[in-house]
């Protein structure tokens, strides 16, 4: 049997030691009527080489982004330096458990401590945890955390520009509370209009920048409005953009969350990635998730251990700040290695390349007949909405036919959106050639439409 080393002789010897005659006797602790009599409904096992053949076949049914992809919408294809795969793939990181025994886990703990430092720096905050599941659940946990800071308030105000999956996740997590969720609409410029929605009954104000539609929000105004009302301000970020754009900490936010996927994690069908979570020192005891702290051993040597564990479920049970246990440590390690490989200059370079490609594409597309960039004037980073002269679905089909992966047909995922709106993203991996081919493909549509 795969992965089982005991031989029949071993088993016989062990059964004798235990004092039973057979393996079946070991299972007599399960009442007879509850044991299966037939084999379970799972196929026969296969060998390793058969598995590879099957996997290669199944993988060939998927199309990859190698010829270019303009699909982002919260999940971006960035270059991943080889050191990330090579170092994260070390068995000692991959096959260790949560570092409950700090002396036997200093590797993971040091890496988390450095990760927390880098995330806090990136977000402009004082403290970060050792990761959440992903960006969307981090938003939801941040809202739950806000309720434990601003007690007895009634409403959460979240931007319509928040990723639709984040919005759905917040709804699910808040489903059992009495909190009302107000969605602040987007204005004609693509920025959230919070006007008149934030008051002394607001628990939290949640905004994403750049928002789902690629628009850079006026973060300072949002944070200030929340502060005036005594509400907790929560910013959801795209970490790569923080190589260039103002950090939420600088803008005055209380909690910063985001998906770390862009920091060295492949898109891989949406997971696993990791969530980032940062806040101010004063709120650290309200924060969910694992936190690593520095301390010393009996000889005064510096060491690291999980800390503030009394916040957590294994100690506090129903009074814990969150139910999170296993998080996404190994993906956070990728994020740490990525950030360390990039450094501030590398991160800024990646951000500048992303923005340069998007600007180049925006200029070319907005010059095409019939194509409009409805929110471009508000400022964008690496992604923007294109209002096409035909349904976005048809436009995407043409991009697909050119061998590339098109953008997001937004109306497929968000209600009330113009079916002509296509969301397209650019990264340092997008080449000028791919953008030129995209523009050429779009221009052929523009001609078809005007002729038709």
């Amino acid at each position: 049997m795969p992965f089982i080393q005991n031989t029949d002789a071993d088993r016989a010897e062990m059964l004798a030691a235990v004092g039973v005659r057979s393996i079946d006797e070991l299972f007599e602790q399960i009442p007879a009527g509850l044991r299966v009599e037939q084999p379970i409904d799972v196929p026969e096992g296969i060998s390793e080489n058969e598995l590879w053949a099957e996997l290669n076949e199944l993988a060939s049914w998927n199309s990859t982004a190698e010829k270019g992809s303009f699909l982002g919408a919260g999940l971006y294809r960035h270059y991943i330096p080889t050191v990330v795969d090579s170092l994260q793939g070390r068995h000692e990181f991959v096959t260790a458990y949560t570092p409950y025994q700090p002396e036997a886990s200093q590797g993971t703990l040091v890496a988390f401590f450095e990760f927390q430092s880098m995330v806090a720096e990136l977000c402009g905050m004082e403290v970060a945890n050792a990761s959440m599941y992903d960006g969307c659940s981090a938003v939801a946990e941040a809202v739950l955390m806000s309720t434990s800071i601003t007690r007895k308030r009634k409403r959460v105000v979240m931007s319509a520009g928040l990723h639709p999956h984040s919005r759905r996740t917040v709804r699910t997590y808040l489903g059992a509370t009495d909190l009302e969720i107000i969605v602040a609409p987007l204005g004609a410029d693509g920025r959230t209009d919070f006007d008149g929605l934030i008051d002394d009954q607001t628990t939290a104000v949640v905004v994403q920048s750049p928002n789902f539609y690629g628009v850079i929000e006026d973060q300072e105004a949002v944070a200030a409005a929340a502060k005036d009302a005594g509400a907790i301000s929560i910013a959801s970020v795209y970490p790569i953009a923080l190589g260039l754009l103002k950090s939420p900490g600088e803008a005055g936010f209380d909690i910063v969350v985001g998906d770390g996927q862009s920091l060295g994690v492949p898109t891989a069908m949406g997971g696993p990635s990791f969530g980032i979570f940062a806040t101010r020192n004063e709120y650290v005891r309200k924060m969910p998730g694992r936190i690593v702290g520095q301390t010393v051993d009996g000889k005064g040597r510096r060491g690291f251990a999980l800390t503030f564990q009394t916040r957590e479920q294994h100690i506090r049970r129903e009074k814990a700040t969150s139910n999170i246990c296993t998080n996404n440590a190994l993906m956070a390690l990728r994020g740490a290695i990525y950030m360390a490989a990039a450094g501030p200059e590398g991160l800024r370079e990646v951000a500048e390349h992303c923005m340069a490609k998007a600007q180049y594409a925006a200029d070319a597309i907005s010059a095409l007949d019939g194509f409009e960039l409805p929110y471009a004037a508000s400022g964008f980073f690496n992604e923007f909405v294109v209002r096409c002269p035909a349904p976005a679905k048809l436009v995407n089909r043409a991009v697909d036919a050119a061998g590339m992966i098109g953008g997001l047909v937004i109306s497929d995922h968000v209600e009330g959106i113009d079916e002509r709106d296509l969301l397209i993203a650019f990264t340092e991996l997008t080449t000028r050639e791919q953008i030129d081919l995209l523009v050429k493909t779009l221009s052929s549509i523009s001609q078809t439409v005007s002729v038709g």
């Binding site: 990181f93 025994q101 036997a104 720096e121 103002k246 040597r301 479920q313 996404n328 450094g343 340069a356």
Partner: protein
């Protein structure tokens, strides 16, 4: 040179590893950004060259104890071998470079694996409706409790607000109940270590929503009265949830659906060999009875004449608990594992897991007190009752094991046994490894009498000794650069 420097301490301005090629379009014009949108202070990140970066993380990796280098009998965590093939499989471009918003027609391979894994888990549990959306076990618990809420609301029974939880349960159970807006009420364990049926029955009523049971329990015991328990819970209109953390002991041998279980989660990162990664990522699929299918989290995988696709709009669904469909990389690894084992191998895994645990138990039970000393499932709990007289606690034995080259067992859990030491060897370990561990445990027991100071001083072979965890709370240093 001090080799134990942090990356930040090795940082020198101007160094870096990642450098992009020449930009093939005009440089970004930052003036096109709105006023005030630029960062004023750049993030302080380490600035290191590639060789220092590689050395740093390789050095760190060597400071971890992992399954790959040591026996890791961490009870309740099922630290079995993580097949290297499965890691390599996740690197296939067709699996790695795909986006969940791609047209379904262009990710049919991924969706097929996803769907097949759901089917396999249905086969293993007997519960027909499966979703792999939840990111980890705790999120699986929360999903299932929200499914229960939706179910009771639809039946006009939203007064059901109590979740009954045995005192031996994982802390995530009550913590999940709290987020689901439910009240956690503890059910006692009886003298035999199993759920006290009388206590449970006295707490069942019209307000009962769910009884959460871990079976086998965290004591490594099969809940022999499980059918009666399920009947009693159903009798008052409640649902039974099984925490599947210990599924490894019974897979292929018994199916939770046959016990009367209505809902359960599975930890793919325990039972189905996907690596723990130092604390995740995992995946916590939930499996439920047909009646509850419509409430499962979105998106669901559905099949129509064009093939498989993700359906985000299931009207009765409790919604999403995270972004995207689920932890695909974890799904893929678990799929590979189940494909290799097949139905026969799954059963053999459970058999060997139970045999290995019992073998260690009988070799240690004369030296270490085993409170419930009878046939166990995949793990058992012992404690330091016989060692206490020498001033020895569970933590001392755990730390001494590190010096002996083993990862410690789980200690101080479950809470119902004082000074608990919970040992779970898993099926992938061979007899010689178990014998070596047993020998070392017996040696440690002798040391408790002869040289207890060795245990109190342990570990001494690690980069640091026992850490002052109180100081980490009292005088917190959580970030290198901040403040």
């Amino acid at each position: 040179m001090n080799k134990d420097l942090l990356l930040y301490e090795k940082s020198r301005a101007g160094r870096r590893t990642l450098r992009l090629g020449k930009l093939d379009v005009p440089a970004a014009d930052i003036k096109r950004l709105p006023k005030g949108a630029l960062r004023e202070k750049f993030a302080v990140l380490p600035e290191v060259g590639e060789l220092e970066l590689v050395r740093h993380y390789v050095r760190l990796s060597k400071q971890n104890v992992s399954i790959t280098d040591s026996f890791y009998p961490l009870g309740s965590c099922t630290m079995k071998y993580n097949p290297v093939t499965n890691e390599a499989a996740a690197g296939i471009a067709g699996f790695r470079q795909i986006h969940p918003f791609q047209d379904a027609g262009r990710v049919q391979g991924a969706l097929a694996i996803w769907k097949r894994l759901e089917d396999y888990l249905a086969g293993i549990t007997g519960l027909p409706a499966v979703t792999i959306h939840p990111a980890a076990g705790a999120q699986g618990e929360l999903s299932a409790l929200l499914v229960a809420n939706a179910h009771f609301e639809a039946k006009g029974e939203s007064q059901r607000k109590v979740v009954l939880i045995p005192d031996s349960a994982h802390g995530t159970n009550p913590a999940s109940a709290a987020i689901a807006g439910l009240k956690a009420v503890t059910v006692k364990s009886g003298a035999d270590g199993l759920v006290d049926l009388a206590d449970l029955k006295s707490k069942l009523g019209e307000d009962t929503a769910v009884f959460m049971i871990t079976n086998p329990s965290t004591l490594g015991l099969f809940e022999t009265r499980i059918a009666e328990i399920c009947e009693a819970v159903h009798g008052v209109g409640g649902l039974v949830y099984m925490d599947g953390a210990n599924l490894n002991a019974i897979m292929g041998v018994a199916r939770p659906a046959d016990f009367g279980v209505d809902m359960m989660h599975i930890n793919l990162h325990k039972t189905f060999s996907t690596p723990h990664g130092g604390g995740g990522p995992g995946a916590g699929p939930i499996c439920v009875i047909e009646e509850l299918r419509k409430y499962l989290p979105a998106p669901r995988i559905v099949e129509d004449d064009k093939g498989l696709r993700l359906d985000y709009d299931a009207p009765d669904s409790i919604g999403m608990l995270r972004g995207w469909p689920g932890n695909w990389g974890v799904v893929l690894r678990a799929y590979c594992y189940i494909r290799r084992l097949g139905r026969e191998g799954i059963r053999r895994a459970a058999e060997n897991a139970v045999l290995n645990a019992n073998y260690i138990r009988v070799k240690l039970n004369k030296t270490f007190h085993v409170p419930f000393d009878r046939l166990c499932m995949h793990e058992f709990v012992c404690n330091t009752r016989h060692q206490r007289q020498h001033g020895i606690h569970a933590v001392d034995i755990a730390k001494r094991l590190i010096d002996m080259g083993h990862h410690p067992m789980t200690i101080y859990f479950p809470l119902v046994v004082s000074e608990a030491m919970m040992i779970e060897p898993t099926e992938t370990e061979c007899k010689e490894t178990l014998d070596a561990f047993i020998d070392d445990m017996l040696k440690i027991a002798q040391e408790c009498i002869d040289t207890p100071e060795l245990l109190h001083a342990a570990p001494v072979t690690t980069p640091v000794g026992r850490l002052d965890e109180g100081r980490a709370v009292k005088d917190p240093v959580l970030c290198y650069t901040c403040g």
